[in-house]
């Protein structure tokens, strides 16, 4: 049975990303999609930018160590990004699929579903994906923990927290915990990362990156099935969220 959806007054989500990775028609060039993509997305997404993989090469001749090195640069287009005017929401046409990003303030996935469906349908008309390979739901949370004299007991806030070999002798200066797991029943993959940032006044920022992935292939035209898969992933990531944070941590988001 699904757990009830958490209703948090101030959810710590700083970004939610839905990626749908696809098999695209062989030989399709992302640059060729730029003009038609601008045409279909610009009414709701007034800002446009491109994401590149940039490469700079420096060649240095050993035979002539004092000579000028030969340099060259090249860049490869990775994504066409269409952003709303307030830059809080974007749709991406990427070399390997589609993404929908929602930045803070985030309300509820239910609220974004109609726009995800609309933009996904536009994308399928544009890029003609042959098959869905992966559906990935990623929620990046930033949690500000209150400290006393710069110290906080992480065990008060996290069920699955970092450990030191000698808690009396050491204090954390940083940590990164990554867990990758498979949900036995469905085969869905879970990838969580917990890490900290530098202290901000009397608050310790913790980043909790919660990603769930389905690698079942799907028909790009079957939105009903895609939506059901996203909902399944949503339930999974909510379950992980609850099981990672303690009540005291959840209470921080009700203030």
């Amino acid at each position: 049975m699904n757990e009830p959806i958490l209703n948090l007054k101030n959810a710590p989500i700083v970004e939610a990303v839905l990626d749908i990775e696809c098999d695209l028609p062989p030989g399709q060039q992302l640059s060729a999609l730029e003009a038609p993509a601008l045409e279909v997305f610009r009414d709701h997404y007034s800002k446009f930018q491109k994401q590149y993989l940039f490469e700079h090469q420096v060649e240095h001749q050993v035979a002539n160590p004092v000579g000028e090195p030969k340099t060259s640069s090249r860049s490869d287009l990775q994504a066409l990004q269409f952003l709303t005017n307030d830059v809080k929401q974007l749709v991406q046409v990427r070399v390997s699929g589609f993404s929908f990003n929602r930045l803070s303030p985030y309300t509820s996935l239910d609220e974004y579903f109609p726009e995800i469906e609309r933009t996904w349908r536009l994308y399928t008309e544009l890029a003609s994906p042959v098959q869905i390979r992966v559906i990935r739901l990623r929620y990046i949370n930033r949690i500000l923990l209150p400290t006393v004299n710069g110290i906080v007991n992480l065990d008060d806030y996290f069920e699955v927290g970092p450990r030191l070999p000698d808690e009396d002798r050491f204090q954390f200066a940083g940590f990164l915990i990554q867990n990758v797991a498979i949900e036995v029943k469905t085969g869905n993959q879970v990838n969580t990362i917990l890490t900290m940032q530098a202290l901000e006044l009397d608050k310790l920022p913790i980043i909790f990156d919660n990603t769930v992935v389905s690698s079942e292939t799907d028909d790009p035209k079957d939105w009903t099935k895609i939506r059901a898969k996203i909902s399944e992933l949503r339930e999974l990531k909510n379950h992980i969220f609850r099981r990672t944070l303690k009540e005291k941590c959840l209470n921080l988001f009700q203030q």
Binding site: V14, P26, Y52, V58, E59, N101, I140, R142
Partner: protein, 175 residues
């Protein structure tokens, strides 16, 4: 005896983003994970064999960095093909035999697992996420195209490599 001196090539690759996520926090996560991965790759025990293969790939790319490297109008190896080939090598299980590498005239890189002249697996890694591969086992042959997500080796590809190289005890049937 004359000997050509090597050219040192430094490749600086900047992915101007954080996967498909765009927030600053996504950047922090990426940076930290990259640091941990970088530390692992500096360990000879954990990554030595793969590091050697990746080094070979870079030397190869350097040697074939200009068009017509074969005197027969071949294209220079594309740096994106190099990045894809490196990712593929990184993604191989640690106990999997590592490939030999060779340049291809279209600017791709060939990764080859050669058991004998009659038993081999070869894969062409280019600029896209589609990997064309072929295998030969005596008179049996096959070829296919697989999707590579940049971090995990497609299951069928791995099974076929295992089968051809006789590593592990895997029995597979390939259509």
């Amino acid at each position: 005896m004359s000997q050509s001196l090597p050219t040192i090539v430094c490749l600086l690759t900047l992915n101007c983003g954080h996967g498909s996520a765009v927030s600053a926090e996504a950047g922090v996560v990426k940076q930290k994970v990259k640091y941990v991965a970088g530390m692992t790759e500096r360990s000879q025990a954990l990554f030595g064999r793969k590091a050697a293969t990746i080094s070979n790939l870079r030397v190869l790319t350097n040697d074939c960095a200009d068009d017509d490297w074969d005197g027969d109008d071949a294209c220079a190896i594309d740096p994106v093909a190099l990045l894809n080939a490196e990712s593929f090598v990184r993604a191989l299980p640690n106990d999997c035999p590592l490939p030999e590498c060779a340049p291809e005239p279209d600017g791709s890189i060939s990764l080859d697992w050669i058991q004998s002249s009659q038993r081999m697996f070869t894969m062409s890694v280019g600029t896209s996420n589609r990997l064309a591969y072929a295998w030969m086992d005596g008179t049996d042959k096959g070829h296919a195209v697989a999707h590579f997500d940049g971090s995990s080796v497609p299951a069928l590809v791995l099974e076929t490599i295992k089968y051809i190289i006789n590593y592990g005890n895997t029995i597979v049937g390939v259509a």
